[in-house]
Amino acid sequence: MTLTDAGLAAALGHPGLALFVGAAAVALLRGRLRGAAALLAPAAAALLLWQLPDGIPWRGHLLGLDVAPLAPDRMSRLFATIFALMAFAGALFALNQKSRMELPAAFVYAGSAIGVVLAGDLVTVFMFWELMAIGSTLVLWSEGGVAAYRAARRYLAIHLLGGVLLLAGIAGHVSQTGSTGFTALALDGPAHWLILVAVLLNAGAPPLSAWLPDAYPEASWSGMVFLSAFTTKTAVYVLMRGFAGESVLIGIGLYMVFYGIVYALLENDMRRILAYSIVNQVGFMVAGIGIGTPLAINGAAAHAFAHILYKALLLMSAGSVLYMTGRRKCTDLGGLFQSMPITAACGIVGALAISSFPLTSGFVSKSMVTQAAADGHLFAVWMALAAASAGVFLHAGIKFPWFVFFQKDSGLRPPDPPWNMRLAMLSLAALCVGLGIFYEPLYALLPHPVRYHPYTGGHVVSQLQLLLFSGLAFFVMLSWLKRTLTVTLDTDWVYRVALDRVVTDGAALLRRVLASASRAWGAALQVTGERLRAWHAPGGPLVGPWSTGLMALWTMLLLLALLVSGYFW
């Protein structure tokens, strides 16, 4: 890369770099200095971000390709802001994490996510995309257990597959257009389809959604807080920038919404419930991007922003329970509201926000997506989104707090977690409610100008009816929702069991075939040996005296054979 002095200064001012430096500092320092570095790095990233003017401060060349690693605009600033904020809240929550690898890995992960959303070209997107996969795998890995290690391997395999597809798509795009610029990508050929598939894979779209609920819940109590924020939301960002208005995304998004609800309803692991609900929430964003109008894009962007906050809050609440009790299954939990009131209250605020209750951030963001569907006269889509909104309250809004903090009394009486974890939860809870009431600052950050008012009487009443009667359905059908000690099979069964069976059974079959082949060969050799011995033994046909006539006949036959062969060749 060639850089001028001013360019060098601009390059070093990349907000993602602040988190990379922070990662190194957190890895090397101990004690209070480590804590200070952990909180300062995201703050510095946010500060650098808000100093950047719109536009491209410098360009470079990498491997003969034009790159513009820093190209902030409204949309990228919105995502980078929430990523920096999330890195800060996550670091505060994770201060007591014993693993020395997790937080540095999380900062590399967050820094690369910021790198993706600030990138002005596809080459930079790809590089940070891969770095994100490595950072997140390390976050998962640093949990330290065998289950996490195996989940990390599966997770990495899926994301490397996504990376290969993305690279192939970008290579195709560059060779066709001659440009590396990251602009809207029409679905006009295999290259752009490859990019779309790779990005959807990271978004948790079908058919491989299972990587998300398979991997994330195996992370540590703090690790999953980081994991929930970045991978799926960078994918949402790339979809928004590259594929807004592609109607195929509406169907995919709606599928994700209902997939998340149904699987979460069947789930027993409290953090896997929340993992399924990530797919569900990203489904709303993907559907919004598919609708593609300015209101829908605003809605998807606002929802991504709000979702990162309340999902982190829910996972902090679940993480606190895991940290204090070491348990993660609903069947082992219950009644914790009595001794963990702050954790329970914060969990409930997060649950209300994810359900889009009025006065929470989810209400002011998701409503824009449903409104956009109505404005576009997409009746079926609108009905599906309304049903899905009810389903969110059912599977995450009530199910999570009910089974963890209420239901039966598990007899567990752990206190609330340490101060930093409480502070992180309380701050995010304040943001979830604050953005639900004072939503103007959030609307001001959105990609398009907003002319939308969430709090009309009719809207509030219809939303309350929808949600409260969903709540009634939950309690009426509670016996059907009773948790069981089960997992639900998903497409990951194909590579965890079926392909494994193909390989192990295939190997066994191959071994059997080889063994019987070698047995048959041995038997054949033995028979031939015995026959040869019999012929050459005293009294055998080749040893005894032959008559002259027979010898002459054989000689003639051989000469004839030679003649015939000479004639033809």
């Binding site: 149904v262 609108w382 009719g458 009443v461 009816q465 059908m477 089960t486 639900t488 965890r496």
Partner: protein
């Protein structure tokens, strides 16, 4: 161990009454606010209430059906060779 007031049967009964009152209030409120209808179906009285309840009931039943097909004991993957090295 003293029972927390929230877990007493009497409290729970009272909570149900309060909940029922709130549900009735949200229905009644529809009569007093300006209808915000994107589609005609929304003008029906209590449409969102019925739709929310029915949608949730359907999803619970659907999940039950899918669970009947796809649920396995939660050590399923541990007991399969696939998850072991």
């Amino acid at each position: 161990m003293q029972q927390h007031w929230l877990t007493r049967t009497q409290t729970i009964r009272r909570l149900w009454v309060v909940f029922a009152l709130i549900l009735a209030a949200t229905l009644a409120a529809q009569l007093f606010v300006a209808a915000e209808a994107h589609f005609d179906i929304e003008r029906l009285f209590g449409f969102n209430a019925v739709y929310g309840f029915a949608a949730c009931a359907l999803m619970v039943i659907g999940a039950k059906a899918i669970g009947w097909l796809l649920k396995r004991p939660d050590d399923y993957y541990q007991r399969r060779g696939g998850d072991l090295d």
